[in-house]
């Protein structure tokens, strides 16, 4: 939750990171000199619209590609372009659509076992027990290990994707729109699970989303990206009550809300944009 006290020792630090993609004739600055740090146990939300650079940011944290400039550190150690197995273990990913992130021809148990095998977690005999414990931890019955992803609902599949991400005991989870493809009732349950896991395992989250309602209720701090630039970062409550940046205000102002209280907040934020 927002008021969780976390000592500010950055587990993840990003200093003046840029990424340029060349497409033959011209260059695209996907990220321009972004500096951010995330404390252990913190949930940092990264918000922005398509093309804002949030996925590029995630891909660089994960080592999918190297930054064009700047440095990144995990626990004070530099994150190189080529990651060792241990560094790959430390930062894990949960994607938006579990139907495409889980191998359809592998059972749930086999997917989890692969994560344990690759990262050599536990011994051969202990892995079966570990798989059962992981399923239990994400709120799924242990006999789901025998099922294929196609035999699960969207929410159940996302729980499997989360179990796989935590299987190798990571320190940081990068969550890329983890609940955007889910129905609202299912979304609430998966968000609760993510929040519980973070506290239980002292995990650090980089939570990428465009849904500011979700951000308001799960993140400790928010970083707003616009066209490759970090335009604002603030503690969650402050960002919603006193957004400093015009783009942040227009994002908050565009959210379709359902209560009068929210409508009032939205109007207030939009008025500041009109007067400013």
């Amino acid at each position: 939750m927002n008021d969780v006290a976390c000592e500010f020792r950055p587990v993840l630090e990003v200093r003046k990171v840029s990424k340029v993609f060349s497409t033959g004739s011209h260059e695209i600055n996907a990220l321009e000199s972004v500096s951010l740090s995330v404390a252990r146990g913190e949930c940092l939300a990264v918000v922005g619209e398509s093309g804002s650079g949030k996925t590029t940011f995630a891909n660089m944290l994960l080592g999918v590609y190297a930054p064009s400039a700047g440095e990144m550190y995990l626990d004070g150690h530099p994150l190189p372009a080529r990651r060792t197995l241990n560094l790959r273990r430390a930062i894990q990913l949960v994607q938006q659509n579990p139907l495409s992130s889980l191998n359809p021809r592998r059972t749930v148990g086999a997917s989890l076992k692969l994560a344990l095998d690759v990262h050599r977690i536990g011994d051969r005999a202990g892995r079966r027990g570990r798989i059962a414990a992981l399923l239990d931890e994400v709120g799924l019955p242990t006999d789901f290990a025998q099922r294929f992803p196609a035999a699960l609902s969207g929410g159940q599949r996302q729980r499997v994707a989360i179990a796989r991400a935590i299987a190798c005991e990571p320190e940081v989870l990068v969550l890329d729109e983890p609940t955007s493809a889910l129905d609202v009732l299912v979304q609430a349950r998966v968000l609760k699970l993510l929040d519980d896991l973070r506290q239980r395992r002292n995990l650090t989250y980089v939570f990428i989303t465009h849904d500011l309602g979700v951000v308001r209720n799960i993140a400790d701090r928010v970083a707003v990206f616009e066209r490759g630039q970090l335009v604002e970062q603030a503690p969650t409550a402050k960002l919603f009550e006193q957004p400093a940046n015009a783009y942040t205000r227009s994002l908050i102002g565009a959210i379709p809300v359902i209560t009068d209280e929210e409508e009032a907040l939205r109007r207030k934020v939009l008025e500041e944009n009109d007067s400013g």
Partner: protein
Amino acid sequence: MSDFILDIRDLRLAFKVYEGMTEVLHGISLNIRRGEKVALVGESGSGKSVTARIILGLLHELKTARISGRVLFNGDDLETQPISVRHGLRGTAISMIFQDPTSSLNPVYSIGVQFEDVLRRGDRRISSKSAQDRAVSLLRDVAIPDPERVLVSYPFQLSGGMNQRVMIAMALANEPSLLIADEPGTALDVTVQAQTLNLMRDLVERKATSVLFISHNLGVVREFADRVYVIYKGRLVEHGATEELFHRPRHPYTRALMDAVPRITGGGIPEISESDAGFADPMIDHEVIS
């Protein structure tokens, strides 16, 4: 003439499966008055999109679908008429906007060519020149700054928001009396979504077009619709004016749905009970005095 542009009565839909028939719509009755914007809101799999498809007659050619009930459009029961009649209504009297604008436009034809096809459905003898002029003015209505350039562009050369505006302009080109909007703008960024929804609302209000607005997003529904039907597993569970329904939801399912939406004013992650007790309770209609 009937009060209602669309009046659906006891609509049922079943699909033939290996074990027999599976019913997915269990008797839907809903109506839309002239110039009214009515929302059908529910989760995935609740039956909202198939309802829209039945109105257009898109499921009738499917050999595995069994449809019963009445679909009255302008007082005429479409279910008793040949499919050719429904065919004739598509794109003229009834039009539809889909979720993802970029995939509903044809990538190998320019916007101008596709727009001309749309206008020709309304007026078979329209000349290319007047079709072009009309398209320009319609694109201007949806706040496209440079319509001539957009007409010679292909869908993949335009942004998602631009394509959505093109779709809205096309859907309203032949001045339909009913517009069906199935999750419009869900694939777009929030700021773009807000702009296109406002635009669409202004246009349909100006032209007094009736709208059936299908969505899973309660916030968008609250913003757009005059009246709301809530659908759960093929049954309507609650119906009322938008204000009334959002201020005083009464059905256990509607309440759970609203509780589950994270608020931008905070309050924590919504606590949702695992049980769905009461979700199958009878429908609550705010407009029927009980």
